[in-house]
């Protein structure tokens, strides 16, 4: 049976497609609102029904916006929440005092997987599930709201005075992170690669230029390697973090990371938890999108008529080129990402 999208979902898809809603944060926020609405609605009677609705809507979002992984990430979070709350209530009713709670110790996880063979029947209606879910959702919302701030707080831990930092394009997390660093540390030099063809790096540079005690240098993308020899740290944002610890980041990030590796410069990636996606992609064509080529070479120029012109949007950065992830919960090595994923999402929900 083919599920019909909710009105809210179609609205969100439209808004994202026409560019009214931009940036991972606002997309995540809007998606969360939709799922909250679903939970509040009376259309489901038991946990199983709710999970089916969430899955169906998530699939629709995924199909419509294949590049926006945050929507599925949030859906997975909701599914996990539902399972947890159901288990908790179920356990309370049956054993009354299961000491394990829902704490995510390694021991619990090991036992849980062995237990899960004895599948829980989610179709049993459970009293108070809705309220418990809404409560928990509130936590997720606050986490989302404070994620940016939580990342910024760590700026001081990573940046010392008179450091030379290189960044690429324009990421909101990087912008606030650097602003924080500029306030706390003196004589920073920030090198911004402009990230052609959109040249969003110019916006970042202009926004940072208002601060004092900082020198901002805008370079064309070609000069990244030339400048890298003087750079102390590379700080970039990312579109999403993949299951292996690799990145799907703005086009050009691969070159930046490679150049940093060549000069042994640490690469710090700012990634709030909602950007972690349980995807295993390591091929360009698997996730890339090709943008408008007009910015690369104007359509009316003579060679453009015959030549193939590509303007890809993303780059895959393999985990070995990343030194550190900074999320709202602290720093993580790329090799630790799989563990974060198991904490965030239920193993059964990885494939929606």
């Amino acid at each position: 049976m083919r599920e019909q999208p909710l009105k809210e979902v179609t609205q969100l898809i439209h808004a994202i497609k026409v560019g009214m809603v931009e940036g991972s944060y606002s997309i995540t926020n809007k998606t969360l609102d939709i799922f909250k609405y679903i939970i509040m609605s009376k259309s489901w009677q038991n946990a199983d029904a709710l999970m089916q609705i969430v899955r169906a809507q998530c699939k629709i979002l995924q199909a419509a916006l294949p590049q926006e992984t945050v929507t599925s990430n949030i859906a997975r979070r909701i599914l996990k929440l539902t399972r947890e709350e159901f288990d908790l209530l179920h356990a309370k009713v049956q054993h009354f005092a299961d000491d394990s709670q829902a704490s995510l110790s390694l021991h619990k996880l090991v036992t849980q997987t062995s237990e899960s063979n004895v599948s829980v029947d989610y179709s049993v209606p459970q009293q108070g599930l809705r309220e418990a879910l809404l409560d928990h959702l509130q936590e997720v919302e606050t986490e989302l709201e404070t994620s940016s701030e939580n990342i910024c707080v760590q700026a001081e831990e990573h940046i010392h005075s008179s450091e030379i930092i290189l960044t690429l394009g324009h990421s909101r997390s990087v912008e606030s992170f650097l602003k924080r660093a500029i306030k706390k540390r003196q004589f920073l030099t920030i090198i911004v690669a402009e990230c052609a063809p959109a040249c969003r790096g110019h916006n970042l540079a202009a926004s940072l230029a208002g601060e004092k005690n900082v020198e901002i240098v805008v370079i064309p993308d070609a000069a990244i390697f030339a400048m890298m020899s003087r750079v102390n740290k590379v700080i970039i944002g990312t579109h999403s973090v993949l299951a292996n610890g690799g990145l799907r980041a703005a086009c050009g990030a691969y070159t930046v990371a490679l150049a940093a590796k060549h000069y042994s410069v640490p690469v710090i990636v700012l990634a709030p938890m909602y950007k972690l996606s349980p995807l295993h992609l390591c091929e360009q064509d698997a996730f890339n999108m090709v943008g408008c080529a007009e910015d690369v070479i104007s359509y009316d120029s003579i060679p453009a008529r015959e030549a193939k012109v590509y303007s890809p949007m993303f780059d895959y950065v393999p985990p070995e080129l990343v030194t550190l992830f900074i999320s709202n919960t602290g720093g993580h090595a790329p090799s630790y990402v799989y563990r974060l994923l198991t904490e965030l999402y239920h193993p059964e929900d990885l494939e929606i």
């Binding site: 020198e215 000069a223 453009a304 895959y316």
Partner: protein, 626 residues
Amino acid sequence: MVLTSEQLLQTDAQILKTKHKKQRQRNRPRNKRNRLEDSNLTTPETSTTDSASAMPENQDAGATEKPRDQIMAEREAKKLAKQAKKQNKPSAPATPATPATKIITEVEQTTITTKLTTTTTTKAQEKANSLAPKTAPALLANGKEAETGEMSREMIKAEREVRKAAKKAGKGAGAKVEATTQQLAALKVGDKAPGTAKAALPITEEDHEKKKPVLSKAERRAVQEAQRAAKAQGQVKKGQPAGKAPSSAAPSKEAKRESVSPTKAATGSSSPSKCPASTPNGECRVKLFNHLVCAKADSQFINDPLVHPSIARLGVQYAKRTVVGSNARCIAFLHALRQVVHDFETPAKKEFGRSLDAAVKHHVDHLHKCRPLAVSVSNAYKQFKNQLTQLPSDVPETELKELLGHFIDTYIENQIGKAAQAISGFLQEKITDGDVLLTFACSSLIQFICEEAKRRQVAFRVIVVDSRPGCEGQEMLRRLHAYGIPCTYVLINAVGYVMAEATKVLLGAHALLANGYVMARTGTAQVALVANAHNVPVLVCCETHKFSERFQTDAIVYNELSDPNQLVRGDKCQLSNWKAKGKLMPLNLSYDITPPELVSAVVTEVAILPCTSVPVILRIKPDIGY
């Protein structure tokens, strides 16, 4: 507009053909004047009699006290006449391909004008007559503003120019033209291109303000230089819209009008009396690059009377980046150098070789001021100097000049032409069916190799990687497209996206340093880096005349900074008026350094070598470095 080395080579051949004719036909009077100028500089008190005896038929009664000025004025007027003729050129039947061709080498222009002088003088006169009613009011206004002395100077200039033209037009027609001289003298002033007339106007006004009865030499030179610069610029601009369409007089006029403003600015900002000392460079604001000077877009013309016009023009072309690329810059330099040698006159009681050496050094310094010399150019210059020291002493000057000219020709032919063929020969073995070559920006050598492979009917395609702000890859794309080679075009960000398809990476180079590092257009190192990560072989193509004995390990110690404003995209860009935004600085590096571990091999005309063999080549080819 970018001059390719091939085009330059073509013109080279042209020049060779016309050279000997020209020598007899045209350059003798000019040489005399040159000598006059030189002797003037050394011994000003004897020059009066000298010049008087040199050209008695051109002497005016009132002008005897300032023959130098006259000569200058004459030359200037002649230049203007050339310009005027250039404007009228499309109507002349004797110019088959000239409007279409985009090459502007000084030599070609002179050949055209010499051809044209015989055919178009009468036409020019007609044009002048027809233009008369239009230009008369302007002329009158000019006349009113100017003092009478100023006016008479203009008249003398014009008269002189007309006589010159008449003389050239042919001995038979000479008498007839002589009759109309008076009439034309008035007209010719107005006949000047509107741009130059306007350019001249502010300057004369400026001089006028000073109320000097006789202009100082420096001022005159400044005027001359400014006009020359305006001319060069006008021609550069004229070349751009030329294309296939017949270049009518209208766009060229427009171009000239445009060209006026920088000239004005140049003459306005640096007062003419102290022009040679003025420096066009500004400090770079980025702390890391304080040691490098930043090129300005509106770099002022360094007014220097001792600089040969061909070198002055080349300097402007370097500064404006109309001649770019190692090979093109080298060829253009050698052409200009040949012109300098050709027009050189040994001062009295001086040795030819040494005085020429000094003169050439001065010219090279001038070029260096316009834009730091390319390694290829400085190598060529070293070779030339080396040649100068080895000149036989018991041979007449004309033969020495021929020797040097021959040396320059063989240098271009061997070091650039034949080297390209040899490199292409090596690489043809490497390019096979189904190959995907990835290249960065624009390289004349890579283009040559691709064309050669296409001629061999190899089924291959090319990925052109490009980068802002230069976007030279578009030029490459255009050239390869003209040869029907299938191309893919991406910006350097996306190089990781296309690298998987590529089977070989071919890169051009600006220079190969003695420690095996490759100096090339910014972005080259990045392409090599990504290619290395994908295990795609990186071949750097570089002729041995670009080898340098310098050592460098990063791109920051020595580099060239281009105009930072190129990074700004239009008015809507956030970077516009970056100067007002405190500590915000765009940085536009010209070159970067690729470490040898990223390069699989260097293809030279000698062999395919690893990067680290550069010192070996430098040793077995000692004439390169020393």
